[in-house]
Point group: C2
Chain length 557, copies 2
C-alpha cells in the first residue's frame, strides 16, 4: 500500500469484487434498466432473469425456507443459489455489495446438505438460512474494508468471525456476501471511494441512507426471504431501513453480540454501536431476535452481553403512545407528517390513547453524541484514511479537522449525557399523570428522519434517531406509506428555526421524493426490545403494513 | 472557602459532626478502651453502655427487625434509637462516621410509626429498617464530602437523594448517618483530612481497608442488624469487607442503581462504580438484593439499569470451582493461603470439584484499570483538592502528577480491555474441557487481598479485586477465618517476583496481623449475581461461617 494510491487500490478492489460475481448471472448493460428508470423494485422478478423456483424461494419467509429445507422440499444449496442469484441482480441495479463470496456460501450450504443427509439432523435452528451481513461483520477468509482503501487487503483475510457471525454460523446460517457502507460507517448515505455509491431501489436518484445502506437497498430487492444484519450508532439501521420501508430493530446494547466486528471508531464506548436485524418481513426479524438471544446465548461469547432471555410479551388491550411529530429542530417533510398522522388516527380508531411527547433536550443530546463520535480528534479515521491519503467526504470533514478531546472533558460530557438520560426516564415515568390509565406510556412514536426520501447528497440530519443511541433505548422501524407529490406539497411559507431546518426545507422537492418511503419509529425503554417488536407487529397490523412486502411485493407490482 | 484552609475547614467539620452525636451517649475518654486495646469487637456489647433491649435489637437480623415492627414488638423509633446508640459507640471506638443525622433518622422513624398507627399499613418492605450509607450516597438535607475539605458545605445541603437512597426511603428504610471514606474513595485505606482515619475493630493498629472502610469498621461493631451500602470500583466493597470478615456483593453494573451518587471521578465510564450491600449477615444481604431489585425496580429510576429481576437460583448438586491461589504478581500472606486451602479441602470433602484458575493477563488488566482511573489527568480530583489547597495522600500522588490522556488513547485502552475480557470469557468456557461434568465451572474462588490484615499505611495492592471491576463480573466475599501467628509464620525465604511482591513480603509481620480477618472471593460471570449469593451461602455453610457473626458474636466472645 502506498500513500495517495487510494483510487488505484479502489479500482482493483472493485474489479476483484466483480470478478467474484458469477458470469452466467451477469446481465448485459443494455438489458439492464436505463439510468432514467428510477424505481427498480420489481425488476429482479419481472425481468425474467430469475427462474420461477428462484422467485418462489426468495419470496418465502425465513421460517418457510427453514421448514422447506427440513422437509426436503429444497436443499440449502438451492436456497443459497437463489439468494445469490437475486442478490447479484440487485447489485447490478443499485451497487449494494462490498464483499462477494458466493462460492464460499454455496460450499457452506453444500456442507449443510451433506450433514443433513448423513446424520438426519439439522445443524441448528438456522440450518441453511442465508443471512446478509453488513460489511463491518468480520467473516473468516474475507476482508472488511468499511469503505477505506487502506483496509483493502489489510488484513488480506480475517482469520475469525465476529461473535455474531460465529453464533449464526454454528446455528446453520449461510453467508454469501457482505454489503456496502459509507466510509467508516459514519455517514447517513452509503458512499465510499472503494465501492462507490449505493442507490435506493425505490428511486435511484435518492440515497438509500446509511450506514446499513447496502443492506437496505439489497433487502428491498431480495424479497420476503431477506434477513440482513446492520449496525446502529446514530441511526445506521433505522435510517436506511426507513429509506427502503423495511422493518428493523435497533436493540438495547448488551442484548446482541457486537464483539469482533470492525469499527471506524474502535474503542468508542461513550455511545455503543449495536447490531440488529433488517427485514422485509417482521416474522424474519422476530425469529432472528428470539433465536439469536435464546439459542445463541450471546452472553456466552461476548463479554459485554447480559444474560437476558428473549421473553414473550403480552401487550395491554388498550395501549398508550406518546407521539413526537417534530423534534423542534428540523421539521419533517409533509409525507412524513402525513404518515405519522395516519398512524395516530388508526391507533385512536382502535381505541388506543395517543398523547404528546415533547422533544426534551433533544438537540443537546444529539450535539453531545456528535462530539463523542469525534472525541478522539478523528485520529482513528485519519489514520485509516491516511494509509492511502484518502480524502474525507464532505459529511465527514469534522473527522479531519476536529481537535482531540481530553479525557477530563469526555467525563464531563458523559456526566451531562447521563443527567439528560435521567431526565428522559423521569419524563417517561411522568406520562402516568397524563394517561387515562394512570400508567406510563407504552411507547414513543416519531419519525425516523425528516425525509420522505432524500436526493443523493442531501441527507444531513440524524437527530430523530441518534437521541435513542444516547439513551440506549430500543427503537424499531415500521413502514407506513410512500410520499405522494399530489398530496405532500411544499408549504408556501415556513419560517425555519435554524440553518439545518432551513436547508432541509429549501431542499424539499415534492417531485424529487415522489414515491419515497415513509416509516415511523417505535421506541420503548432500555431493554424492552421484545415490547418494541410486539408493538411493531401490532401497529403494522393496524395500519396495514404487516404484509407490506408481500402485498406490495415486486411480484405483484 | 479559601485556599489553604483545608485544615481549619476540617476541624470545623469534625466539630460539627461530633456536635450531632447525642451527648447522653458519649462515653468519657477515660471509660473508653485505651489505645493499647487492639481488638474492640466485643466492647459495644460488653461495656455495659447499651441496654439489653438495644443489644437484642441490634443483634437481630433485618428480617426479624421488620417482623418485630410489623407485629408491634418494637417501634421503628426504638429500632432506630438502638441502631444510633450502638453506632455512636462504634464511632468512638474506630472513627467510622462522616455525616451524623441521628435526629433526622429518628424523626423519619417516628413518621413511619405514625403512618403505621394511622393506616395500619407498612410503608414498604423495609418499613423501619435502619440502613447505613457510605458517604458518597447523597441524602436530602445532608452533605457529601468524600473526605475533601473543599466539599465541606459545598453544597451546604444536598437537595436530592441518590436514586438508591430514594428507592430505599420509599420502601421505608431509615437513614441516620453516613460513613467515612478515603479521599475521593480512591485509596484502599480509609483516611482523609476532614474526618481522619478509621480503624479496624479486629485490631486497631490495622487498616479497616477502603474505600467502604467506614461502613465495614462500623458493621463489625453493629451486630446482626447491620446492613450497609458501599461502592466498588476496584475492590472498595470487597477489600474492607474482607478486612472485617463481613459478607458483601460487588454486583454487576446495571443491576443496582448508581445514579445521583457523588464521585471523585465523575463521568468515568471506562470502568463503572457499583453499589452493593455489606453485612454481618448473609440473610440481610440477600434480602437487600432481592428487595431492591424486585420491589425497587431500579430500571425505573436509573437510566443505566437493566430490567433483570432477581431470580431464584438452583445450584447443581455437585459444584465445580476454579481456584486461583496466587495471581502471579503478589503472593498472599500465609493466613490467606491457609484460609483458601481450608475452603478447598472442605468443598472437596463435600464432593465438589476444584480445578485451577490461571491468572490470565491479570496484571495487564489491573494496569489498564489504574490508567483509566487517572485518564482525566487527575483533573477532577485536583480541582476538588485545589479548592482548599489540600494535598494528596501518598497513595493518591499519581492523581497530582499524571498527564491527562487523550480520548484516542483511551479508546485504544478500552479496545484492549475488551479483548482481555473476551479472553477471560473464553477461558471460563474452556474450563468445560477440564471438569468431570464437562460443563464450565460454577465459580472462581480466590483471595480478596494478599493481606490477612495490614498495618495502617501498608495496604498497597488491589489486584485481586480490581480485575473483576475490569471484567464487570459479580464477586462476593465470604469470611473464612482469622490469621494466627502460631501457624501463619513468615517463610524463611521467598524470592519476590517484583517490587510490590517484595514490599508485601517484607512488610508481613505475623505478630502485627495476628487475628486479622481472612475472607475469600466468589466470582461468577457477568449478571450472575444471584448465583454468587447462592454460592456464598452454600460455601459459608460448608466452611461453617454462615453464622460467623452470631456464633462468634461480640455477645459471646
Amino acid at each position: 500500500m502506498t500513500k495517495g494510491s487510494y483510487l488505484e487500490i479502489s479500482v482493483n478492489k472493485r474489479q476483484e469484487r466483480d470478478s467474484k460475481l458469477f458470469p452466467e448471472w451477469l446481465i448485459p448493460e443494455d438489458k439492464l434498466p436505463g439510468a432514467d428508470v428510477k424505481n427498480v423494485l420489481a425488476w429482479p422478478v419481472t425481468s425474467g432473469f430469475l427462474s420461477l423456483e428462484e422467485i418462489e424461494i426468495t419470496e418465502s419467509s425465513a421460517r418457510f425456507i427453514l421448514e422447506s429445507i427440513k422437509n426436503r422440499k429444497w436443499t440449502a444449496y438451492q436456497v443459497a443459489l437463489a439468494f445469490c442469484h437475486r442478490a447479484s441482480i440487485a447489485h447490478q441495479l443499485v451497487n449494494c455489495l462490498s464483499e462477494v463470496f458466493f462460492a464460499e456460501g454455496l460450499a457452506q450450504a453444500k456442507e449443510l446438505d451433506a450433514y443433513y443427509e448423513e446424520t438426519g439432523e439439522l445443524k441448528g435452528p438456522m440450518h441453511g438460512l442465508p443471512i446478509s451481513l453488513k460489511d463491518n461483520l468480520n467473516v473468516i477468509g474475507q476482508q472488511t474494508t468499511l469503505g477505506f482503501a487502506g483496509f483493502c487487503n489489510n488484513p488480506e483475510k480475517f482469520t475469525y468471525d465476529s461473535s455474531l457471525v460465529s453464533i449464526l454460523r454454528r446455528m446453520g446460517a449461510v453467508f454469501c456476501f457482505k454489503t456496502n457502507v459509507p466510509t467508516a460507517m459514519m455517514m447517513p448515505e452509503t458512499i465510499n471511494h472503494v465501492f462507490g455509491e449505493t442507490s435506493n431501489p425505490f428511486n435511484r436518484n435518492l440515497t438509500c441512507g446509511g450506514s446499513s445502506g447496502g443492506e437496505s437497498a439489497l433487502g428491498a430487492l431480495l424479497g420476503n426471504c431477506y434477513l440482513g444484519i446492520g449496525s446502529d450508532i446514530g441511526g445506521s439501521l433505522r435510517i436506511p431501513a426507513s429509506m427502503q420501508n423495511l422493518f428493523t430493530l435497533r436493540p438495547t446494547f448488551g442484548r446482541f453480540p457486537t464483539f469482533g466486528a470492525r469499527s471506524g471508531l474502535p474503542g468508542l464506548e461513550s455511545v455503543n454501536s449495536v447490531n440488529g436485524p433488517i427485514s422485509t418481513n417482521l416474522d424474519n426479524l422476530e425469529f432472528y431476535c428470539k433465536t439469536v438471544v435464546n439459542e445463541g446465548k450471546p452472553w456466552m461469547h461476548d463479554p459485554k452481553c447480559y444474560e437476558i432471555p428473549w421473553k414473550e410479551v403480552t401487550l395491554p388491550k388498550k395501549l398508550t403512545f406518546a407521539v413526537m411529530k417534530d423534534d423542534g429542530y428540523v421539521k419533517p417533510y409533509p409525507g412524513v407528517v402525513r404518515g405519522l398522522e395516519s398512524v395516530i388516527s388508526k391507533l385512536e380508531k382502535e381505541g388506543h390513547e395517543v398523547i404528546e411527547w415533547n422533544p426534551l433536550n433533544h438537540d443537546r443530546l444529539n450535539e453531545i453524541l456528535l462530539q463523542m463520535f469525534v472525541s478522539d480528534g478523528g485520529i482513528h479515521c485519519k489514520e485509516y484514511a491516511g494509509l492511502t491519503d484518502e480524502p474525507f467526504f464532505p459529511y465527514m470533514e469534522p473527522y479531519g479537522t476536529v481537535k482531540e478531546m481530553g479525557v477530563s472533558e469526555l467525563w464531563d460530557l458523559q456526566s451531562e449525557r447521563t443527567m439528560l438520560c435521567k431526565q428522559y426516564l423521569e419524563a417517561w415515568n411522568a406520562t402516568a399523570s397524563k394517561t387515562k390509565s394512570g400508567e406510563p406510556i407504552d411507547a414513543i412514536l416519531l419519525p425516523v428522519t425528516p425525509y420522505s426520501g432524500a436526493k443523493k447528497g442531501t441527507f444531513r440530519y440524524c437527530g430523530y434517531t441518534s437521541v435513542f443511541n444516547a439513551l440506549d433505548w430500543p427503537a424499531g422501524v415500521v413502514p407506513v406509506t410512500t410520499a405522494d407529490k399530489t398530496v405532500d406539497s411544499k408549504p408556501d411559507c415556513y419560517v425555519p428555526r435554524n440553518e439545518m431546518d432551513k436547508t432541509t426545507f429549501d431542499e424539499f422537492d415534492p417531485d424529487m421524493v415522489d414515491g419515497g418511503p415513509v416509516s415511523i419509529q417505535v421506541v420503548c425503554k432500555k431493554a424492552q426490545d421484545e415490547k418494541v417488536v410486539s408493538l411493531m407487529r401490532h401497529i403494522s397490523e393496524i395500519i396495514g403494513t404487516i404484509n407490506y412486502w408481500t402485498t406490495k411485493s415486486a411480484l405483484k407490482d
